[in-house]
Amino acid sequence: MSVLARAFDKGFARNIPKSVSFYSSNSERIQEDEFRVLNFKATRNQNLQAKRKGYKPNVLPPRTTQMPVDQDWGSVWPGPRSFHPATVPLPIRQGYREKGAAPDKYANAELMKIPNFLHLTPPVVKRQCEALKKFCTPWPKALDTDEKCEKYFPIEVTFSNYCHSSPTIRDPLARIVTLKIKLSTLKLNEHARDKFLRLVGDRYDEKTDTFSIVTDRCPTRKQNYEYAMYLLTAVYHESWEVEPWEKLKSEVDMEVYDWNNSKSKETIEELFKKEAKDVENINEYVSAINSLMNEGESKDTIYNYGLAVRKLFNFPVTAT
């Protein structure tokens, strides 16, 4: 550079042949780590394809050799990252070799593939939990047992969030809302309960006494939740309503045989000429006929029924 500058100073610039350009004359001086320069001025003797020498970088020794034993690992490996052998001071091996040891951690692509949890060591998890604690509120003291939770918050709403490895956070399944409530927590009388069960059909589970609604017809979760709440309210109020045609329900339409509304009661009252509750041995007869009608005819129910009738009419009880 200084030689050239002197040459320019002395006015020799005009004498320099055209074929020698600044860059070509200086090409050997351009260090290897510089980007190549695109020369638009095409000249003949330009040494465009300078012979590339093998690049030998001076690489520092891996960090693991300088790590103190009591270092803070959480700040060495703060987040999720692919495995790097120069950062992890562990003699890990991964892979399968038929003879000899498995490949070591240097230049091992298998170790880079598998997900690691080096960023979630127990001290780091503890530290993160401590940091998150100030954003948490304590659990209400009054709700110390599950029974109390169920009593004061009878409605259970379930929905799912989905995590995908994709740029979208939407998942069509996230809109589905399930609402569950125990039927015993609703205020229902006998008629309302019966109507409620008829309205909900198979959404009621007899074993757990739970009524559940699954709503998925609306596009968002909020809409589905509101729709489920609306359905619950609607079914509840509908079951309390008594329509005029419901009074036409006769004994045949009853789902359970009830002796108090039956023809049998009328007949007994007619025979004994007094109120049914004053008749002797009537309780045994009522339970026997109820079980016969509701459970169906079996050896036991028929035998009990016969026994009860004999007692009712003071007939001799004989072994059959």
Binding site: E32, D33, F35, G54, Y55, P57, V59, P80, R81, S82, H84, P85, A86, G95, Y96, P103, Y106, A107, N108, A109, E110, M112, K113, I114, P115, C163, H164, S165, S166, P167, T168, I169, D171, L173
Partner: protein
Amino acid sequence: MSINNITQGLFKLVRIHQYTKNAIHTTAACHKVQAGRYRITSKKDFPLTYEMANPPHQIAHRKSWNSWNTSSVDGGLRTSETAVEDMFIRKFMIGTWHALFVSEIIIKRQHNMIRIAGIVRQSISPRKMYFLIGYTEELLSFWLQCPTKLELQSVGDKKDVVFQYI
């Protein structure tokens, strides 16, 4: 009548013969599978990486997948898009990091983050390598609209990744 019976019987026989001919293959089954397998050279000097040395049926046994995402699980979303994007990333990386990658390109996705891992040679200066890292991350995150990260490991010599010679 009897002739009729005989002809019917003959027809049945012929039909049975046809069925047996069609149902039983007498030639050897062709089970030739070539994908992901390498031919042994006469000088036994063809270098294989660990990835190349294990054929595809060893995936999940001796080696693992090069693409990690949730689109292949049951109910996964964006299956085809993910596959096409991964292929695009691979092509882009191979072209941009010309003759530098000595391993397969590993693409791991978590939420909307794309992490690209691999092993490169130390044949270019650190300055160029940093430039390439920034260039790749910038362009890929612009195209895919996801934050993209490059997690590279470098080796001084190509032979460092060679697992065996065949």
